[in-house]
């Protein structure tokens, strides 16, 4: 989706540093929703702006 080398993605990478603007965030959120069969909300990647915090939030939904 972001056309970047997965090796560049670190656990503490912020979504912004990976080039996730609001438009790509929507695609990303939909992918995550489909993959994990959960429902997220617009702006979730602003509230949990890096991978570590986002994953922690996803865990809390289980």
């Amino acid at each position: 989706m972001l056309e970047i080398d997965p090796a560049r993605i670190k656990p503490d990478s912020t979504f912004a540093s990976l080039g996730l603007d609001s438009a790509t965030a929507v695609h990303f959120i939909l992918e995550v929703e489909g993959e994990y069969r959960i429902e997220l909300y617009p702006g979730v990647t602003d509230d949990y702006p890096d991978l570590a915090r986002f994953v922690e939030y996803l865990e809390s939904l289980k």
Binding site: S13, T14, A16, S17, G19, D21, S22, V26
Partner: protein, 545 residues
């Protein structure tokens, strides 16, 4: 009417709007003088509508602004505040939702703040007489952060363009509108909010983020409200097609949709065809697709096809296009498809002009689009020089200026075909358009220049290219600082640049190219040559750092 999240729908009737706006206008009058600017910083909400009309009724100049972005330095918001020096800022909530430096700016500039809520029993009323040529609002979509330019739209400009929109699109009091475009954007403000109010028609507003998240909900709302008019930039029609899922469209009937106006960014033939193919089974009529052309400097709408007219497309030679001429394609590989934006609205004239000598170009040639007529605004707020260059141009005919002048130079390129319909082919101004929002290269370059010590300040070029889908994207070419050229981490720099630009501008850069110090093309006076950098990048000629 207003719809946001399910269950959070709020509505205003026309009489409530009048009473609320009159009451607020009365309260504003005690803290302002007629002609003062008042900044409106709201999400799409009934409070914005009330605040906007309160300004119109009390002789104040409304300045719709975007919400300051979270975690951002909000240079653009600060620049607009400094440029228009408002007496008051109005917003939904207390000031503490705004970033600290933005609050500091308001305090230092002694700009007041008023939180706006609808009142239970609006009774006050104070109408301030304003002349038709007085500014109604300032539209800030045309300038960079360093030079924000607020188009002064007068009451007369606005009323003329609203009438032109109504006539051209065949709108009437039964033409319900459903839209999600932000209200600080001219397309959202004028065509989606003020036009239905002008008609006495229903207006349904959806939060922009809600559209981005679930685009098909826009179509659902069009169905539910039996909307005749729903408009958006080109990308939104692509987004609906991208997100199409048959089960989400069950029972949806779009046959009510008469005007699907496509504007604010280049209109693509492929998008129109794809959207029509996917949504025709749900009642969408292809002749509803209405590509249009307009700009804030002309209030909004300049040209558009009539209601019910099929969209005209034209195949032309790509090679000839590159030389500024219109010719039939030689073969399929030499083919570019252009979409007609219709003929100019009745009150406006268009001339296609050589931007260098200001003479009208030949019929088969591309030139700068010039516009003249009553909805062309008076100029940019407190920028007489830029205003003169843009708003009061003279056509040269036979070597002498034509007698009346008063042409608006749009900075866009195009041609008029034999039917007098406008085809937009490109632009000569610096602006880059991402999802219907204008961005300026110098703003992106300034953000990039300040984001990391290994980056060489003022040695950056930002420019737009078309990606494989034909969508406009931004590429940044940046020199690495001499002292860091052997020690920098490319991944770290790329992440820092992406992060800064996403945070400040909400744009993901398409490519970030790091080059060695001195490799960026500049003029002898040290000015970055963006166009040359762009051509070299496209040709693969830029040396990596």
């Amino acid at each position: 009417m207003y719809a946001d999240k399910p269950g959070e729908t709020r509505a205003l009737t026309f009489s409530q709007l009048y009473l609320q706006a009159a009451d607020l206008g009365f309260r504003l009058a005690s803290r302002t003088c007629p002609g003062d600017r008042v900044a409106l910083i709201f999400p799409s909400s009934p409070e914005f509508v009330v605040a906007f009309f309160a300004c119109l009724m009390s002789g104040l100049v409304a300045v719709p602004m975007m919400m300051p972005r979270r975690n951002s330095r909000n240079g653009a918001s600060a620049a607009i505040i400094t440029d228009c020096s408002p007496r008051l800022v109005l917003s939904l909530t207390a000031l503490d939702v705004f970033p600290q430096d933005f609050r500091d700016l308001l305090e230092n500039e002694k700009i007041g703040h008023m939180p706006i809520a609808l009142v239970d029993n609006p009774t006050e009323n104070l109408l301030t007489e304003r002349g038709p040529m007085d500014p109604a609002f300032l539209q800030y979509t045309s300038g960079s952060t360093s030079t924000p330019k607020g188009v002064m739209v007068s009451h007369a400009n606005l009323l003329d363009n609203l009438q032109m929109i109504r006539d051209r699109l065949g709108n009437h009091a039964g033409s319900s509108h459903v839209g999600w475009i932000p209200l600080y954007h001219d397309l959202g403000l004028i065509m989606n909010l003020l036009q239905p109010i002008y008609l006495g028609a229903n207006c349904v507003l959806i939060a922009p983020s809600s559209f981005m998240h679930r685009p098909l909900n826009w179509l659902k709302a069009i169905h539910e409200h039996r909307a005749e008019v729903a408009l958006a930039p080109n990308f939104a029609f692509d987004l609906c097609a991208d997100r199409f899922q048959p089960h989400q469209m069950e029972g949806i009937d779009l046959s009510c949709w008469k005007i699907a106006l496509n504007g604010a960014e280049p209109v693509r033939a492929e998008t129109i065809e794809r959207f029509c193919d996917i949504f025709r089974p749900y009642g969408f009529a292809p002749e509803a697709m209405r590509p249009g052309y307009g700009l804030a400097e002309a209030t909004l709408l300049v040209s558009c096809g009539r209601r019910g007219a099929p969209t005209r497309m034209m195949s032309v030679s790509t090679a000839a296009l590159g030389h500024g001429r219109i010719a039939p394609p030689v073969d399929s590989r030499d083919t570019a498809r252009l979409v007609s934006c219709g003929s100019p609205v009745v009150d406006l004239s268009i001339a296609i002009v050589d931007p260098n000598n200001h003479r009208p170009v030949a019929d088969d040639a591309i030139g700068e689009i010039w516009v003249r007529g009553p909805s062309v605004a008076g100029g940019y707020y407190q920028r007489p020089e830029e205003s003169e260059g843009t708003f009061t141009a003279y056509l040269q005919t036979n070597g002498t200026p034509d007698d009346t002048g008063g042409w608006l130079r749009t900075g866009d390129l195009g041609f008029l075909d034999q039917e007098g319909e406008l085809f937009v082919t490109g632009r000569i101004k610096d602006v880059m358009i991402i999802r219907g929002i204008n961005h300026y290269p110098q703003d992106i370059e300034a953000i990039v220049g300040a984001c990391h010590p290994a980056i060489r300040r003022d040695h950056c070029a930002a420019f737009a290219i078309r990606d494989d889908n034909g969508t406009e994207q931004i590429v940044v070419v940046q020199e690495v600082e001499r002292t860091h050229r052997h020690s920098f981490s490319e991944a770290e720099l790329v992440a820092a640049i992406q992060s800064a630009v996403v945070t400040e501008k909400d744009i993901a850069l398409h490519k970030i190219v790091l080059i060695r110090p001195g490799a960026l093309p500049k003029t002898t006076s040290g000015k970055v040559q963006r166009d040359l950098a762009r051509r070299r990048w496209l040709a693969g000629e830029l040396e990596p750092a």
